[in-house]
Symmetry: C2
Subunit: 282 residues, 2 copies
Amino acid sequence: MRDFSADTSALALNTATLGHNLDGYGAGWPLERVIDACAAHGFGSIVFWQREIGTRAVEIGNRVRAAGLDVAGLCRTPYLVGRDRPDTWLEETRASIEMAAALGAPVLTVVSGGTEPGTKGVAETQKILAERLSQVVEHAAACNVRLAVEPLNPMFGGNRTCLMTVQDAVKLCDLIGHDALGIAVDVYHVWWDTALKDACAKAGSRLVGFHLCDWLENTTDMLLDRGMMGDGVADLKAIRRAVEGAGYSGPCEVEIFSRKTWWEMDPETVLRVISERFRSVC
Amino acid sequence: MRDFSADTSALALNTATLGHNLDGYGAGWPLERVIDACAAHGFGSIVFWQREIGTRAVEIGNRVRAAGLDVAGLCRTPYLVGRDRPDTWLEETRASIEMAAALGAPVLTVVSGGTEPGTKGVAETQKILAERLSQVVEHAAACNVRLAVEPLNPMFGGNRTCLMTVQDAVKLCDLIGHDALGIAVDVYHVWWDTALKDACAKAGSRLVGFHLCDWLENTTDMLLDRGMMGDGVADLKAIRRAVEGAGYSGPCEVEIFSRKTWWEMDPETVLRVISERFRSVC
């Protein structure tokens, strides 16, 4: 077993944790400053969002590596199913795969989108999702990028996801059967699932992402009230054991959407607390 | 199979659907008027909340039966676990069992409460819940009342529930192994669960409640934005088949918390729409 007690190199920062570096949230830092601060705080890698990258993918990727870090991933494809799927989903998905490749990001996150219009529940939508993923997975493989489908908390059913559990994601991967398709496990979405450990064991080498934050006991906003690790009720150590026990050895990506708390703070403080909490409670 | 196409006698009204008959929501009707309106609209039974009943349990129960209806259930015990569990949970739970018996309600709903202070996740809390239910289940049996544990949508984890799936509830019932303990299946909480049909089959005769509403595609409030049957994305017919296919033959209880839509409407309209939707989309 790796000993992370004095080592935060497994830590990845998802830039959303600093309010996407946007003016109005956090400090509105340019990406270069985020990269250097991550390096200074001992992080090993960074996960970006498409809208931050624009046409600078190669430049930003090189800048990250020059700072001694890796790009761990890119967020994310457009919705592939549901009412909010763009008509241009196929071109947009291919473009996001290419952006990940240009950045040097090994993983591109997929949030599926919600229930397909004209259908009910999630089963039919999951089948349509499988068909659409099949149309892009070869391109991902050719670009050396793995697609990571991310099950979301069931409260995001309807308009954001048709995958609510790791078990559902494993079945989807089985249906498609392609190495370039994997699964991201985010504690915010799956902390409550008593079948999680078994599902992770089944996922095995398909686990390509692990996202950290915490579920606050009194969550006040579905989207933007995620907790810092240790401030909530998720059993972070047990979940990490389940993921790493199943063979995952990639980064631990901290992704905290927190409009009223962490996005209001100085990014230096946020990065310091993440590093401390990673060592003490994860 | 029963044919409900022209028959709404399986319908139960959960009075929360009319804004709990409170002033400020719906019409603030007295219970007697709610009872008569349910009878006029062809409902077969009613489910009350403790705070509506006060010390009138026997009187209200008799009034319901005089109108040709049954009392289908009572909401609900105090939280048995979690930070918001009252110190007096044992006395309060015994009192709610006795109120159900006095009303002639065969079922008393149990919402567990959240994660126990000092613990993480749900597994440990589920064990404590089992111990506490064991302390009251004999009293329920003696009163001829069945306790219905109700799994809640995982978004209510932390402060409201430690049971998120019917599968978790089945395991809890297995652990206690007492006929007076059963399970309520509410479509709002479980519509997304691809393992639901199997879990209901396992639950079998332990299914003692079935709650109807719908999951709106764009749910704007965790608590008070439930949809009318047919307005959302839950596969109501499939869920009902899963529940009734597992042997459930009790009432279909309509429970819609909807502050901005249905609680603002005339109760006569709400009852009429429920009756129509029950026949057309459930």
